[in-house]
């Protein structure tokens, strides 16, 4: 079984090596591909000097376009399983094998690593948790299913979902919308507890100024995904 870790990276010069080493040590049967989203720092140089597998986007596409490129890579290189694994050091590779096990054994289409089942590890700030609870509620209203951590980027999926995402993936703040659309497509999605870290370097894509846009855009996107 071919397994790929998709590492979206935008200005992650401080953490990209650590992320790749974590994968090599704790999930050695995963291949990886870094999607360098036209970083303005030394990310590209670090990748090339260390001979890492990297796709360099010539134009900045934002997180959604970057992750989608990873799914397209997974599709063209015929991978059976793909996981999104953030380049900022928030995700822990040691959970990947258990997630693969769950995906395969329970014949699921996607397994999401959730911070809020066992409530261990970095739990995000209070306001953000409130936002996450709200999206969880919204997705339950729209799809009838409970996703405790709808903004988790740590999600592992099979060929079906790789195909869907390679063709169609939201542009910015993609997680809640993309999970809603595959739930609506009748795919089986389950969560399992993972621990995440506070980001080791870089900045979050959601600044306070953008959070209003984020809430409105993602709410609308989830509702629309429910109607499609």
């Amino acid at each position: 079984m071919k397994k790929l870790a998709i590492i979206p990276a935008y200005n992650e010069q401080g953490s990209i090596l650590k992320t790749v080493n974590d994968l090599k040590q704790n999930a050695p049967d995963f291949d990886y591909i870094i999607i360098n989203d036209c970083s303005t720092d030394d990310t590209q140089r670090i990748c090339e000097e260390n001979n890492l597998h990297v796709v360099n986007l010539p134009v900045n596409l934002g997180i959604g376009g970057g992750v989608q490129t990873g799914y397209q890579y997974a599709k063209t290189h015929d991978y059976d399983i793909a996981v999104q694994f953030d380049g900022d050091g928030q995700h822990n590779a040691k959970f990947l094998d258990a997630m693969v096990q769950k995906l395969v054994n329970e014949e699921l289409d996607m397994v999401i690593g959730s911070r809020y089942i066992e409530k261990k590890g970095f739990q995000s700030s209070g306001l953000r948790r409130l936002g996450i609870r709200y999206f969880s509620w919204l997705i339950r209203r729209v799809t009838g299913q409970t996703i405790t951590d709808p903004t988790s980027g740590m999600r592992i999926c099979n060929r079906d979902v790789i195909d869907i995402y390679a063709n169609d993936y939201p542009r910015d703040y993609p997680e809640p919308e993309s999970v809603t659309s595959i739930l609506k497509a009748g795919k089986k999605v389950r969560e399992m507890p993972v621990e995440m870290n506070e980001r080791s370097a870089g900045v979050s894509s959601i600044s306070p100024r953008k959070s209003i846009y984020y809430m409105v855009k993602v709410s609308l996107a989830v509702l629309m995904a429910g109607k499609r």
Binding site: H53, V55, L57, P58, V59, G65, Q68, T69, Q72, R171
Partner: protein, 116 residues
């Protein structure tokens, strides 16, 4: 409608029409995108030249002043065009994204092949 105002509006519309035409000639704008602006100019010009037509329609739709109807119509058409442009930008955005992704993946494949 006051004659002075009609002449004024008529001149503006004629100038706008000519401006769009020269823009097409100088290839500043594609004919496909210019057509809708020309239609707006001609439409408003016709209503300006034949005020009876404008008055009839305004009365029918309940506008107190025919000129209000003229402005409203111009505004409405402009909004329609702007929305069309937003849709176009979205589409262009999507096309650029797809090309970027294809290009990046191709470059990666090439690099992997030429690597020792």
């Amino acid at each position: 409608m006051d004659l002075r105002m009609r002449v004024f509006i008529g001149i503006i519309m004629a100038l706008a029409f000519l401006y769009v035409c020269t823009a097409i000639k100088r290839r500043v704008i594609d004919i496909r995108h210019a057509l809708v602006w020309l239609v707006v100019c001609i439409l408003l010009l016709i209503l300006d030249i034949f005020p009876a037509l404008l008055e009839g329609i305004s009365k029918l739709l309940g506008f107190a002043l025919p000129v209000n109807m003229l402005f409203f119509l111009g505004f409405l058409l402009a909004i329609v065009i702007i929305f069309g442009l937003s849709a176009k930008v979205s589409k262009l955005n999507e096309q650029v994204k797809q090309m970027t992704q294809d290009l990046a993946l191709l470059k990666n494949e090439l690099e992997e092949k030429t690597k020792p």
